[in-house]
Symmetry: C2
Subunit: 172 residues, 2 copies
């Protein structure tokens, strides 16, 4: 026993119905809100460094599977499939802590990543470029367009070797 | 000079047009992707502790204003207005660093918060409850529904005193 039957009704039963603002904000029932596409945004940070690794989405099944496995399972919007992170690249994300926000419409997972990379472009984090802000932006005279600064200079892996000819998920 | 005319065309001009995957992923032009509602998700972490404070959205104007002011300006989906965070509560978020992800459809800001609270419920972070995951979830036998654990036990401020009778942004 003690196994979540994801394909049956149990995946749904681990989520409570959203009955009141007080229940959602101040209560201790897991009552996630999925948007009009059935998705909830997920913020994934490195459990060690606190660095933001990626921002993705889960549907109800992906969230249930993540809870069951203790490994991140997302919903790929570009490929429209369940996406057990690391299945292709080997860079599995072990969930050390999962949190949910006040109105229960966002998930935060703190993960350990074997191999140390989470970005399909090959960088450690998906967030490898910074945007000048405030005084930095003023000093540059609000360039048109603004120039990004690379904060990671070397890739952790070569995406061509890892993903081969798989289609790039980035959409214009 | 040296001021961004947000209401004019300059707010748009600081963003490049998205011409190719290579430009977006490997280039140094700021070319953000706004979704079908004109919004980009924003992950906000505490610049000191790395803690996730909130997850929100910006439209083009909010992003331009954040870049200009160096303070977080969001788009409130519940109230449908530009939302200069802290205008009501005084808890302004000073942006110490802004980053954008590989396909430029998510913003990450690392902020300093005067007063130390970012959540309208009164907690330091919006993420004040954890969800059991993996072995922890198994040990509990996958409760229906799952039980959350409070990781913050005391509120930093009393929302009634700060917001008065303003409508609660949480939607069921």
């Amino acid at each position: 026993m003690n196994r979540l039957e994801i394909d049956g009704m149990n995946a749904v039963k681990i989520f409570a119905e959203r009955a009141s603002v007080e229940q959602v904000e101040e209560g201790s029932e897991l009552a996630p809100k999925f948007d009009e596409n059935g998705l909830i945004p997920v913020v994934t940070t490195d459990a060690e460094t606190g660095e933001l690794l990626m921002h993705a989405y889960m549907n109800a099944e992906a969230l249930a599977k993540t809870i069951e496995l203790g490994e991140a399972v997302y919903w790929s919007r570009s490929r429209q499939v369940l996406w057990h992170k690391g299945a292709t690249s080997g860079l599995v994300q072990k969930v050390r802590e999962m949190k949910i926000d006040d109105d229960q419409d966002t998930i935060w997972i703190r993960v350990e990543v074997s191999g140390g990379a989470s970005c399909h472009v090959g960088y450690r984090s998906c967030f490898y470029r910074s945007v000048p802000c405030g005084n930095d932006a003023k000093e540059r005279g609000f360039e048109t367009p603004m120039t990004l600064t690379f904060t990671e200079t070397e890739k952790v892996f070569d995406p061509k070797k890892v993903y081969g000819d798989a289609p790039n998920p980035t959409k214009l």
